[in-house]
Every structure is written in structure tokens, then in C-alpha cells.
């Protein structure tokens, strides 16, 4: 096969795999974003916490990141629950922008607590499959990335079923698209807020586990990924599950393709992605698959 074609597919594979990780995180964020209508600046910190949890479970108890996912999920659900109940809920009905201060405060505090407790070192979980390649014909990609991608896909699929097939999912969609109507339909908004927040925290925690062995973790890791994810969610359209996935894959592909095919390389990747975002918004103000306002 022509080497340039092989490179093309290779690059596409990488983009899709990384996009899959973004997708998982963004789908969780989208649920919170859509239902609660707040920019949760602290969302990335759930990812960070999940990552450190996975790291220490591996280092201290030698639990493989894949096996520790249920523990991470449970603990992050709890963290989300505590934060929602103690800090976010009391603000309900308050002015919309007060959440900014609150979530930023939580984010700053958590990041710096992590810095004090675990220092700023870059850490990564050295799983046995960490550097093994997976070859499909002439294309080879990292096994760890494939493993993480698979976990992300499975979880995203579960979320999809949860959001599309259950009453919980129906309420989530109703709340994202038309909060007033949803309230009129008798949905318990307060309970939904708590549930979606915990769900989002949980998913972010799992994303953190995946980041911990495919990439690396440090106290600020979540904030940067969260900013990217905000953009993904907006690109795809607020409240649109499919939109978040499409947006995430687009970011993954934009990152990998620009770094190979653009002179100047991946330095331009953010510009390409943000340009795609802006052009999309100019053409479709509600995002790629967002519900019309």
C-alpha cells in the first residue's frame, strides 16, 4: 500500500482514539451543562481526582486502572453528591452568574489542595500494556489507547441507553431543551440536578482513570481538558448527546491531522479546532446538532 495512504489512516485512527476519550468526558459535561445550565469550572477537577485515585490505587494496592474503575466511579459519585448538596444546591434560585464564582472557587481550592498533597509532578500509571502496540495491517496504534477507547465507548454506550431509553434520560432531555416545560410536566428538578451532577462527576472520574494511564496527570490536568470540553459541547450543541460525540471526534481528528499535514505542525491544532468551532457557530448558532432555540 502507498505509504501516504497508510499515514493517512494511521493519523485518522489516532485522532479517533483520542477523540473517543474526549467524547466520554464531554458527554458527561454536556449532561450537567444542559440540565443545570451552569458553566461548571470545577468539572475538570473531578477528572483530576479520578486520575489521582487510579494512580494511587495502582501504586499502593497494585490495582489495575481497569479494575479500579468501579471504585473511582463510586467515590467520584460521592464527591459529586457532597459538593452538589453542600455548595451548589444552596445557590438554587439565586442569580445565574453566582455559579461562576462558586465553581471557580471549588476548582482553585481543589487544584491547590492536590498540589500540596501530591506535588506538581507529572505522573502516569505504568500498566503492563502501556507501550504495547496494536497492529491492524500496516497501521499500529497504542494498546493502552485502544483499551481506554474501548472503555470510553462502552461507558458512552451505557450513558446513551441511560439517556435515551429511561425515564431519567427523558427528564434530562426535557430539562435541557425546555426547563419550564419540564417543570410543568412534574419533573423533580432539584433531584435531577443532584443526579446529573453526580453522574457528570462520575463520568469525569472515569475519564481521569483513562487519562492516568494513557497520558499523565498533574494538579491542573483537568482544567485544560475541561476548557476543551466546553468547546466540544458547544460545537456539538448544548444538550445534544450525539453532538458532543461528533464534536469530540472532530477535535481529536483536527489535532492529529493538523499536526501531520500542516506546516508548523500541531502548533496550529488549537487554531484549526477553534476556527471550526467559530465557523460552525456562525453558520449554525445552536451548534452542529443542537436543538433550535
Amino acid at each position: 500500500m502507498d505509504p501516504s495512504i497508510i499515514t493517512f489512516f494511521q493519523v485518522m485512527m489516532c485522532g479517533l482514539l483520542v477523540g473517543g476519550l474526549y467524547a466520554l468526558f464531554s458527554v458527561g459535561l454536556n449532561v450537567i451543562f444542559g440540565v443545570m445550565k451552569i458553566i461548571n469550572f470545577a468539572h475538570g477537577e473531578f477528572l483530576m481526582l479520578g486520575g489521582y485515585l487510579t494512580y494511587f490505587l495502582f501504586m499502593l494496592a497494585n490495582i489495575d486502572p481497569l479494575l479500579s474503575i468501579p471504585i473511582t466511579m463510586a467515590l467520584l459519585f460521592l464527591v459529586g453528591f457532597l459538593i452538589e448538596k453542600s455548595l451548589i444546591k444552596p445557590l438554587a434560585g439565586g442569580p445565574p452568574y453566582s455559579y461562576i464564582l462558586l465553581t471557580l472557587g471549588i476548582s482553585i481550592a481543589l487544584q491547590n489542595i492536590a498540589l500540596i498533597l501530591w506535588t506538581g509532578n507529572y505522573r502516569s500509571v505504568p500498566v503492563w500494556y502501556s507501550a504495547l502496540p496494536l497492529s491492524i495491517g500496516p497501521i499500529s496504534v497504542g494498546l493502552s489507547l485502544v483499551v481506554a477507547f474501548t472503555v470510553a465507548v462502552i461507558l458512552t454506550a451505557i450513558l446513551y441507553v441511560l439517556l435515551k431509553r429511561t425515564t431519567f434520560g427523558k427528564s434530562v432531555r426535557a430539562l435541557s431543551q425546555n426547563p419550564e416545560l419540564a417543570q410543568a410536566m412534574g419533573i423533580n428538578v432539584s433531584k435531577m440536578y443532584t443526579l446529573t451532577f453526580c453522574l457528570g462527576a462520575m463520568v469525569a472520574g472515569v475519564a481521569g482513570s483513562l487519562v492516568a494511564f494513557t497520558m499523565y496527570i498533574f494538579p491542573n490536568v483537568g482544567f485544560e481538558i475541561a476548557i476543551k470540553s466546553f468547546c466540544i459541547v458547544i460545537l456539538g450543541g448544548l444538550g445534544s448527546f450525539e453532538g458532543a460525540i461528533v464534536g469530540a471526534l472532530l477535535l481529536g481528528l483536527a489535532e492529529s491531522f493538523t499536526s501531520v499535514y500542516l506546516p508548523g505542525g500541531s502548533g496550529w491544532a488549537p487554531v484549526v479546532f477553534f476556527a471550526v468551532l467559530l465557523i460552525t457557530l456562525v453558520v449554525k448558532p445552536q451548534g452542529l446538532l443542537g436543538a433550535k432555540a
Partner: protein, 328 residues
């Protein structure tokens, strides 16, 4: 003639009682109290943040929520720096150009964001500021790239002169925005925020006034950026196109009281000094305390300090444009 003089005098008299006037006088006297260049340096930074926060708030008043004010600040900073670097333009002359490029950017941003609302707008502005940063990084031949550029500080780094220059900028910014808040333009902006459909049903051109808000909101942060690079004597894309600069005015406005004139000012007056005090009093972990203070503030003053003050003094109803003295 006599009548005009008398009117001038009465205007002056009422001006003296104006809180803004008193505030500015206090600021002008500050260097007498703060002998130390260090304190003046911090005070100047506080002034910069006051201007950015008040400017951000005016855009918020028109219902447009920006997460990209670092873009205005950054482009202003690079304008004056590059003018100096390539054409040896005096920074004092370069600063108005900073304001101009910032306004040009605001027009572009405003036009792109016209169909966008709320989170879409916030993220789009954030995206624009990130794009600008990457462009600056990727064009090192022109901008100095990621390495940044060193420039000689203004007035040889004399803190007192720098403070007064920034104070002059702040006075222009605050009095402009103060006047705007008492003008019919402000009414149009608030109407847009409350209800855009109603606004257009009563003759307000939403496009025009949203762009006005963008321009007003970008003008002074751009100017501040132009000042900032010469103030610090160094510029790099990470410190001026920093998301923290976009987030800071939100923290300040929300803490002080969003949609009020004094709210962002109070917010900036509290946040920056508190942060600096914490920084020098505990080397590690002070940001944890800072974060917790933020959480506690919003927990106990969810509507900001201004609302709390108003509730305390029994003035919780909205004050009409132009103060209470209009009417009956």
C-alpha cells in the same frame, strides 16, 4: 452668561458630592499614603483590574457574557509593544492604538457572535482569545513568539508616574462608563439584556446596540493592555492572553454585584489585595484559602456585596437610570 456660570457652579457642587468624584480623589491621594513602590505597584494592578471588570460588566449588562476579555487585553498589549518595537512609537502614543485595535477586534468578535447567546457566546469569545494566543505564538518572526518580548518600562519604571498614568486611564474609563450608565444608550443595553424581542418591538436595533456594547467593553481593556506591557516591561502570549484575565472580571463582578456600577469596582478592590496579601503571608497553599474564601463569599452573599448593602440600607429596589432625583 451669568446663568451658564451659575449652572456650571451648581454642576460642580453636585459633582463634588458624586461618589465617583470622591473615589477618584481618594485614588489620586493614595500615593501619599502608600510610599512604598511595592504597594503602588499592587495598587496599579488593582486599577487595571477595576477597569477590566467594569468594562466586562457593561457587556454583561447588555446580556452578553464574555469569557474572552483577555483577547482585548492581549491585543492591546501587543499593539503598543509591536508599535514600539518596529516603529519606535512612544508607548503613550501607542496606547490609543491599543484601544483602536482592541475595538476593531471587538467589532469582529461582535459580528461573529451576533447570533450567539449565553454559553455559546461565552465559549465563542473564549475560542477567539485562544486563537489569538496561538497566532501570536506561531508567528515568532513578528511577535517574538512564545519567548516573549522585553521592552523598556515606561517612565523608567517610576511607580508613582505609572500609577498616575493608570489612574488617568481609569478615570477616563470609569467616567465614560459612568456617563454611559446615565445615558439612553444604557437603557437600550439593559433592555436588550432583559428581553431582546421586546427591545426590537420598541424600536431598538439589537445588532447595533450589541456591537456598541462590545466596543465599549473592549475599548478600555485594550488601553490597559497597552499600558500593561510597558508597565511590566515584558510581554509573552501566555501572560496576556491568559484565561485568568477573562475569568477575573467575572469573579469581581459577581462578588461585588453584577449589573451595578460599583459592584465590579468593589470586587476588584477586594479580590486583588486579598489575593496579594494571602500570597505574601503564606508561601504555599494560599490559593486553597483563596478558593475557600470565594466559596464562602458566594455561599453567604449570593447576590454580591452591592445587593447585600442595598438590602441592609433598605434600597433593594432598582434605581432608575440617572439616580433617584429625576422623576416627579
Amino acid at each position: 452668561m451669568i446663568y451658564a456660570l451659575r449652572e456650571l457652579r451648581s454642576k460642580f457642587k453636585s459633582g463634588i458630592k458624586n461618589p465617583l468624584f470622591i473615589f477618584v480623589i481618594l485614588l489620586a491621594l493614595l500615593p501619599l499614603a502608600l510610599q512604598e513602590p511595592y504597594l503602588l505597584y499592587v495598587a496599579t494592578l488593582v486599577l487595571i483590574y477595576i477597569v477590566i471588570a467594569v468594562s466586562w460588566n457593561i457587556l454583561a449588562e447588555s446580556g452578553q457574557f464574555s469569557l474572552g476579555h483577555a483577547a482585548f487585553f492581549g491585543i492591546g498589549a501587543y499593539t503598543s509593544t509591536l508599535l514600539y518595537k518596529y516603529f519606535l512609537v512612544n508607548p503613550l502614543l501607542g496606547m490609543p492604538f491599543s484601544a483602536l485595535t482592541s475595538c476593531a477586534l471587538a467589532l469582529l468578535m461582535g459580528v461573529i457572535c451576533l447570533p450567539l447567546r449565553e454559553f455559546y457566546l461565552a465559549i465563542a469569545t473564549l475560542a477567539l482569545s485562544e486563537v489569538l494566543r496561538t497566532i501570536v505564538i506561531m508567528l515568532p518572526e513578528i511577535t517574538g513568539g512564545a519567548v516573549g518580548l522585553g521592552i523598556p518600562p515606561l517612565f523608567g519604571g517610576n511607580r508613582v508616574l505609572n500609577y498616575y498614568l493608570m489612574l488617568a486611564i481609569a478615570v477616563i474609563a470609569l467616567s465614560t462608563l459612568y456617563a454611559v450608565r446615565r445615558s439612553k444608550l444604557y437603557l437600550a443595553l439593559v433592555t436588550l439584556r432583559c428581553d431582546e424581542v421586546v427591545a426590537s418591538s420598541i424600536g431598538i436595533n439589537p445588532v447595533k446596540y450589541r456591537l456598541y456594547a462590545f466596543l465599549l467593553s473592549a475599548l478600555f481593556p485594550g488601553l490597559c493592555g497597552g499600558f500593561f506591557s510597558f508597565y511590566v516591561g515584558f510581554i509573552d502570549p501566555f501572560s496576556v492572553f491568559n484565561i485568568e484575565i477573562s475569568i477575573a472580571p467575572q469573579i469581581m463582578s459577581v462578588l461585588g454585584g453584577i449589573y451595578t456600577f460599583w459592584g465590579p469596582i468593589i470586587g476588584a478592590l477586594i479580590i486583588e489585595p486579598v489575593k496579594e496579601f494571602l500570597r505574601i503571608s503564606m508561601p504555599t497553599g494560599y490559593l486553597v484559602v483563596y478558593g475557600i474564601i470565594m466559596i464562602l463569599c458566594i455561599r453567604f452573599l449570593p447576590r454580591g456585596i452591592m445587593e447585600a448593602l442595598k438590602a441592609y440600607t433598605g434600597m433593594s429596589e432598582a434605581v432608575p437610570v440617572g439616580g433617584r432625583k429625576c422623576s416627579r
